[in-house]
């Protein structure tokens, strides 16, 4: 990305199984015509992406709007980033009267032709342990992995934000089972 570029839209990635770099632009067919399923799923984007600033060793979160212009629903099942060894998909639930964050079973489903917002107090990407500090104004690369194995590359801007500090409850899922 050029130094002076502010572009922070999602960049569509490639199915993990295909080594060649075929770039499928949102809504358009790529070379060689991938199947319509992959084409639809590869059209998922994440807009207005941002990450809460954090010091090294801390956990932080990424937010934005998942946009699915395709004809099938899409599910984000995992995510990764170079700034942390692990990323989890989290929801916020009320447990014993308090808002807590926990892993979200089943990931984030984005309906066909719809959106799913990742925002403080709701579903979000949890960046579990930031190796270096994330300073406001920096860019963070994220990769979303979809249920068909395809990926979506996202660049998020680091922002100072006072909120998004719900208690994290490790090991608890929506089903109530603890982690192994």
């Amino acid at each position: 990305m050029p130094l002076n570029s502010l572009a922070r839209r999602a960049r569509v990635g490639v199915p993990a199984a295909i080594a060649a770099t075929v770039v499928a632009l949102s809504g358009c067919g790529g070379d060689g015509g991938p199947t319509s399923d992959i084409e639809d799923q590869a059209a998922l984007t994440m807009e207005d992406a941002w990450v809460k600033a954090a010091e090294s060793g801390m956990m932080t979160a990424a937010f934005g709007i998942l946009v699915n212009p395709g004809e099938n629903h899409v599910r984000v099942v995992s995510a990764r980033t170079p700034v942390s060894p692990t990323v989890e998909l989290h929801e916020v639930a009320v447990v014993d009267g308090a808002a807590v964050m926990r892993r979200k079973d089943g990931g984030f489903t984005v309906p066909a032709g719809g959106e799913h917002a990742l925002e403080p107090g709701a579903d979000h990407l949890m960046i579990m342990e930031v190796s270096d500090p994330l300073e406001p104004g920096e860019d963070v690369d994220l990769v979303l992995v979809l249920d068909d194995g395809s990926t979506v590359e996202v660049t998020a801007q680091v922002k100072d934000f006072a909120g998004a500090d719900e208690d994290y409850v490790p090991g608890e899922h929506a089903t109530g089972h603890d982690d192994e």
Partner: protein, 413 residues
């Protein structure tokens, strides 16, 4: 509850995203070149609001272009000028991160979209001709290690005998100018931008101003200041070649081409003294009639003052000490564009008034265009008896940006 706000934010972004496509198509590169010009009524786009916002509240001033908006833009009703001082240890990469944040915030907010991490997206939905304009002081170039690139004039003004300047209202490393017709819009934008600035700088001073709401029938009418005078009659029209010649920098260091300079002086009105001057005295102090701004020798506001016209006694009708005579220059280089705002921080403890003018003057070169005028006024201007400059600051207003670019990139890359 979370769902509702998600939906609301989605609706807003849906609307603005959808509109943004058609707005971009509508305005295109040509209109973007008018930039902060939006001077003519054709310059702003009407966006249908997301709830009950009246049409005026959703008016949008284009953000991108060769010049920043907020200079050639017809004056909005409310303005905040906020200066910041850099924290210790700021270097070029940190300043770049700050400017990337601010450009992104301003790009969104001026187009009626919430900023990233905006805790109050609803307050972004009615931009009301919001403009966000950024300038830098000498300290910014020093921290960036780019002092050799600073223009000569980027330093405090020379002292004038009329000055009673206090640090509280003077100086600053970075200037944020936010204007809109809705004060809530201004408030939200200033708060959002300040929150993003705090990692890099401390607020130094904030000066809040106002003027008449816009009159759609007369978008560039001259505003009235709190001395009761029409203020800015001799300004060139926004969008005119003369305006561009006077204001926009087109030579010198590349980082400043397309920018301008801002001289911001806080001028206190000595209201108790002015209140007791009779009408004729007031009009002779300025050289214009209060009612319609016409020069004392003319019939209409924009008539050329006749500085030689004399009365029966042989005295000039426009007295030697009157403001417009003193401000006038034979040298065509001595021209500025004023885009001032009234302030009112009163009543005071023992006085009925604490009023004045946020005198904002834009010109390509402070030294050749502004200083000579100010020197002449300093030497003689009856208005000096009724006004006191209490603050003064000079900033380099950065050039405009194109989509994908960020403020100060040329300076900070």
């Amino acid at each position: 509850m979370c769902r509702a706000s998600t939906r609301r934010a989605t609706m807003t972004s849906d609307l603005t995203r959808g509109r943004a496509l058609s707005r971009r198509g509508l305005l295109g590169a040509g209109a973007a070149a008018l930039a902060g010009a939006a001077a003519s009524t054709a310059g702003h786009a009407l966006v249908t609001g997301s709830n009950d916002d009246p049409a005026e509240q959703t008016q949008v001033i284009p953000f991108h272009g060769p010049h920043q908006a907020g200079v050639e833009t017809p004056g909005q009703t409310f303005a905040v000028f906020a200066a910041f001082d850099l924290r210790d240890g700021m270097d070029r990469p940190a300043l770049a991160r700050w400017m990337r944040l601010w450009t992104d915030d301003a790009e969104r907010l001026t187009q009626g979209r919430p900023a990233l991490a905006d805790p109050d997206p609803e307050l972004a939905a009615a931009p009301s001709r919001l403009t966000v304009t950024v300038g830098v002081g000498p300290g910014f170039l020093h921290a960036a290690g780019r002092e050799p690139a600073a223009p000569e004039w980027l330093r405090p003004l020379p002292p004038f005998s009329v000055d009673a300047l206090v640090p509280r209202w003077s100086g600053g490393d970075v200037l944020l100018q936010v204007c809109a017709d809705d004060p809530s819009t201004v408030s939200h934008a200033v708060r959002m931008l300040t929150k993003d600035a705090l990692a890099f700088a401390k607020p130094r001073w904030t000066q809040r101003g106002f003027r008449h709401p816009p009159d759609p029938a007369s978008p560039t009418r001259t505003p009235r200041n709190l001395m009761g005078q029409l203020d800015g009659t001799s300004n060139p029209a926004p969008g005119s070649a003369e305006f561009a010649r006077i204001v926009w920098i087109d030579d010198g260091p590349r980082w400043l081409r397309g920018g301008t300079s801002l001289v911001l002086r806080r001028i206190r009105i000595e209201a108790e003294a002015w209140d007791v001057v009779d009408r004729r005295g007031k009009e002779e102090a300025i050289g214009r009639r209060l009612a319609d701004g016409a020069p004392l020798t003319g019939a209409h506001e924009h008539d050329e003052p006749d500085l030689d016209a004399a009365n029966e006694s042989g005295l000039t009708v426009i007295p030697p000490w009157s403001h417009i005579r003193r401000a006038r220059a034979a040298d065509p280089r001595q021209r500025i564009v004023r885009r001032s705002y009234n302030y009112d921080d009163g009543p005071g403890e023992e006085s009925a008034s604490d009023i004045g003018l946020l005198f904002a003057s834009y010109q390509a070169d402070v030294d050749t265009q502004f200083v000579p005028i100010q020197r002449r006024l300093d030497e003689l201007d009856l208005l000096n008896d009724y006004t006191t400059p209490v603050g003064s600051a000079v900033f380099a207003i950065l050039p405009g940006v194109r989509p994908g670019e960020w403020w100060g990139a040329t300076l900070l890359s």
